[in-house]
């Protein structure tokens, strides 16, 4: 499955990346599995996306739980809890 990743705020800075397209193996089916998959890259990825870090995620620009299923061509965003207003 191919999809677009986007990162914001402290995650974007920590990874040094705002967006990229990825091709995922067939066993990566949910956002939680995607997050774990990305930590396997090691380095900043393992640190920034570590399971003990509080991170919010969005699928096609809607805030969702990590258990939600991924979709082909989707836009998946990871970011810290919001602090606007």
């Amino acid at each position: 499955m191919k999809l677009q990743l986007r990162f914001f705020a402290s995650l974007r800075e920590g990874l040094g990346l705002s967006e990229e397209w990825v091709n995922l193996p067939a066993d990566v089916k949910t956002i939680a599995q995607l997050r774990h998959h990305l930590t396997q890259r090691g380095g900043a990825w393992a640190e920034v996306l570590a399971s003990d870090k509080v991170i919010r995620c969005a699928l096609n620009q809607r805030m969702v739980k990590e258990s939600i299923a991924l979709e082909e061509g989707a836009e998946v965003a990871f970011f810290p809890p919001v602090t606007g207003g």
């Binding site: 914001f8 620009q61 805030m63 809890p81």
Partner: protein
Amino acid sequence: MTKSLIRIQEADFDLTTEVAALRKGDLQVGAVVTFVGTVRDMNEGNQVTEMTLEHYPGMTEKALEDIISQAKACWEIRGTLVIHRIGPLLPEDQIVLVVVTSAHRGEAFAACEFIMDYLKTAAPFWKKEDTPEGSKWVDARVTDDVAMARWNQK
């Protein structure tokens, strides 16, 4: 006639001008409630010299539209306006404006507070503060989640 306006912008806004534009031509409005959020020079004991606001273009507008439609489902409101600034801001600067118009004040007060509480937890904006010790992303506050959660209990 109802209006829902959302603007994300770097430029400052003028409260009087914005309220007049939202009210104009709507003779059913009997109450206007406004909230303005501003930049403080201190946050959690740190001196703040400048702040920068980042957002998620595309998702921000969707999240705010969703917030406003939920407010409209809960209260008899007529017009809504949300302006959120992005980019660099200084202490005393205005960050956010929420205006709600209604026939009666009770609905307008409640809807305005709901929109602000929901925005603080669901709209993708992030603040980064510059302090004499360097720059730092602002952590989300637990009190914001508590403020949001109470609306679900009503």
